[in-house]
């Protein structure tokens, strides 16, 4: 029963991820013409990683927008984007990563390719997980906010030198569709293309490596995991310590120890595999289910 529930849940989640990704990239004509959407929706940021230079993108990339605002506002804070992302983080935390990020879905699909999978050694994994915070605080906030070149212009450091999403969703389609872009693609494009290939290759063997180790947006939402309105609740009295939840979690979280871990993308699979319903979604301030209900169910 739990297995069927999990299969159904996984299908629903994939459908939501795919549908949301399509909605974000609904300007399908752009993939034929090579022109990006320039309508009024572009003033709004999408909640997940989605390059605004993707020919299909109908919204703005939150990470790119944040860096652009630091630049455009002469080192003034990006209240609009940071406030918007913080509000989303306060509402649902990293639920966005698990349900509403197209690049997350792409990595998940790559991981489905039947090959032997790699488990990153625990110590290395623990250290690498901090990398995404370096991306956020150094590349997105720090360098974009403080560094200026010789003509006093800042630049989107993360987008320019690291982001594989821009290469995949924007760079490759535009270079393929536009001969001028093709001619202009040089060393930087090659560098970013190599990073994309590494990311794609890693995703075949490691579950969502970009989300685990690199994504600054995931790092930003992770800051709100423990205070967000949507939370995971763990009922210790119902738990039989079977370990099904931690075995199921491909992000390497142990929900029994830390149900609102910064690494949890709130995919909800642990909730579905728990045979005793010890894990559940909850909202802040909502009273936990009385234990007597659980006893009666048993």
């Amino acid at each position: 029963m739990a297995k069927q529930d999990l299969i159904k849940h996984t299908r629903i989640r994939k459908a939501v991820q795919g549908g949301w990704g399509l909605l974000h990239n609904a300007h399908l004509a752009g993939f034929i013409t090579g022109q990006i959407y320039q309508g009024p929706l572009k003033k709004f940021c999408v909640p997940g990683m989605n390059c605004y230079s993707c020919p299909g993108a109908v919204g703005a990339c939150p990470i790119g927008s944040m860096q652009a605002l630091f630049d455009a506002r002469k080192r003034k804070f990006a209240f609009y984007v940071v406030g918007y992302l913080a509000a989303i983080g306060m509402l649902v935390g990293r639920f966005i990563c698990g349900w509403l990020c197209l690049f997350g879905l792409i990595q998940e699909l790559l991981y489905k390719i039947p090959t032997p999978k790699i488990t990153v050694p625990e110590k290395a994994d623990k250290i690498l997980r901090y990398l995404k915070y370096i991306m956020l605080f150094v590349f997105v906030f720090g360098l974009s906010f403080f560094y200026r070149n010789e003509v006093n212009v800042g630049m989107p450091w993360f987008c320019k030198y690291i982001c594989p999403v821009g290469t995949l969703e924007g760079g490759i389609p535009l270079v393929l569709l536009n001969s001028g872009m093709r001619a202009a693609a040089g060393a930087l494009f090659r560098w970013k293309f190599i990073l994309l290939i590494l990311c794609v290759a890693a995703s075949i063997f490691i579950y969502r490596p970009f989300c685990k180790y690199v994504c600054p947006l995931g790092a930003f939402y992770a800051l709100f995991q423990k205070v967000s309105i949507l939370r995971m609740s763990f009922d210790e009295s119902s738990c039989v310590n079977c370990g099904a939840c931690s075995r199921q979690c491909k992000m390497g979280v142990d929900p029994m120890k830390n149900p609102n871990s910064a690494e949890c993308i709130r995919c909800g699979e642990c909730v579905k595999v728990c045979p005793k319903n010890a894990l559940s979604w909850t909202a802040v301030g909502k009273a936990k289910k009385p234990v007597i209900v659980k006893v009666a169910e048993e």
Binding site: P40, R73, G83, V227
Partner: protein, 49 residues
Amino acid sequence: MNRKEIPAWVTYVLLVLAIAMCAYGVYRGEWKDVMRKAVAICMECIGIG
């Protein structure tokens, strides 16, 4: 494993602050800068410039 949860009022205060921050950014017209950036191809993002 009895973890102390952060009180609900902290969540609500932070949420209000986040919304206020976003609203202040809109008031400052930051959305125009986002729009300006998003309607042009970002050469850095795609690896050209």
